[in-house]
Amino acid sequence: MWSGAEQEALWLSLIVATRSVAFSLPLAVAVAWVLARARFPGKGLLDGLVHLPLVLPPVVVGYLLLLGFGTRGPIGHVLYQTFGVRLAFTSWGASLATAVMSFPLMVRAIRLALETVDRGLEDAARTLGAGALDRFVSITFPLILPGVLAGAVVAFAASLGEFGAVITFASNIPGETQTLPLAIYQAIQTPEGDATAARLAILSIVLAFSGLLLSELLARRIRAMTTAP
């Protein structure tokens, strides 16, 4: 039923999105923590910067990434010269693009969870001898885990669906950067591509639904641990 190209697009999308979430999650937790807890000059600026991809046209984000991470951009140049790593027009580049685009969603979910954590519990842990890192690992993180999971799932879904930033920064190379939305776009552009487009669209819907269900299930499990009788 599925053609090789379609399967390829599916796998590629999953890989790109998984990588994107895996690498940005720790950073998102750190940034969310800083935004929720720290007080420093320029915090508003950081907040704005993190949220920028949410309000900018994705194409602009892709373009900015090209400027920065293209082989001739300041960061891309260094990466290429020192490590031989090229991001533009590669699947890693696609992951970077989706990570940047979904980052604000992830940070928002985690930050929200952090803001609802009872600081009194952390104080109690402090009086019981727990240092800062210990406290985060043993108290804060388990308590925000539902929020972290929710953020990861939303970001994963957004990564699967990211179009503008990916096509601009990583281009539309079948097998390398052609994720589901890009494949759908191409199928629509192609004569007799309607069936392919429809099948890929259905696949996207199924993926999105499974993601939502999974996150709801996990969140319920965790909530049950902390609140159920």
Binding site: D118, G120, L121, D123, A124, A125, R126, T127, L128, G129, A130, G131, D134, S138, I139, P142, L143, M225, T226, T227, A228, P229
Partner: protein, 355 residues
Amino acid sequence: MIEVDIKKRLGAFSLDVQFEGGEGVTALFGRSGAGKSSIVKAIVGLLRPDAGRIRVGDMVFFDSNVGVDVPVNRRRVGIVFQDGRLFPHMTVRQNLLYGFERAVGEKRISLDAVLGVLDIAPLLERRPVTLSGGERQRVALGRALLSQPQLLLMDEPMASLDEGRKAEALPYFEILNSEFGIPILYVSHDVGEVVRLASDIVLIDAGQVVASGALGEVTARLSLPQGAEGFGSGVVLECRVEASDQEAGLTSLGTPIGRVRVALMDRNVGSRLSIRIAAKDVALALDEPRNISVQNVFRGRVVEIGEYPGYIVRLKLAVGEGFLLSEVTADAARRLGLAAGLEVVALVKSVAIGR
């Protein structure tokens, strides 16, 4: 031993307190908003004083003169919060062991000892959300004890419990000090709790210490300072159960003012407790009356006399090695010719003596 001498401005409120606490249970007593919680936070390290010094045992926690400020997690102060603050994602066992696992040095207090004293062994595998208020506070207490503290702070640990739960939890708090030998600072605005638990008291009002000392001594003052109105007028006496007569339905207590007979108590001979004798329950006579129902008759001497609005006269009497307060009408005082130095007989009904 604990020594606190701190200053702190918090908006319009300013805290400026000096006091010491002993090896027993010291009550930090005052109205809400008097500054009790700020003092507790400063001792535990969650609030940094503007200036001053805090010492517990031989460890200086804070000293603004030499720039010492020991981090919260190294102070080894166990604290029981009003709301318990058990970790919701952990079982009771994990909660109890949280501080235990992080304690350094010799561990004098074992899990078994705490489980036994607090009766919480059956709760070990439960989650905090499933516990009743009283159970929660007992677990919080156990968790604090197991962190091997050199001082236990209790910030109104029973304020969120209803009367029934409170009565259920009080006995556990009562035996702590003697059982584990850890000095306790007990914050409360409940007179009953303080009388039952504390041996010393520090009275706080509007960010200042207005009185401090042994509970019996402070409560024997003719006029209590502002903030202590809750105590009304009456002395607290530390007693030892001397004998219980099942037949007569009476328990005899050895107190600084002599033997006091009260209605039968469910207490072992030799155990220690405190009672409170309200000034309005102490009647005075010049001669020892005969054929009366009153069980407690003491010979004493008027040492101080004060007049108060409403035609009431309040007197401080020296009885045995202690004191009693008595309130009589101004008319009665005139008829008996009550004056400082006069020998009198004080009468206290057994049923009027409460704990």
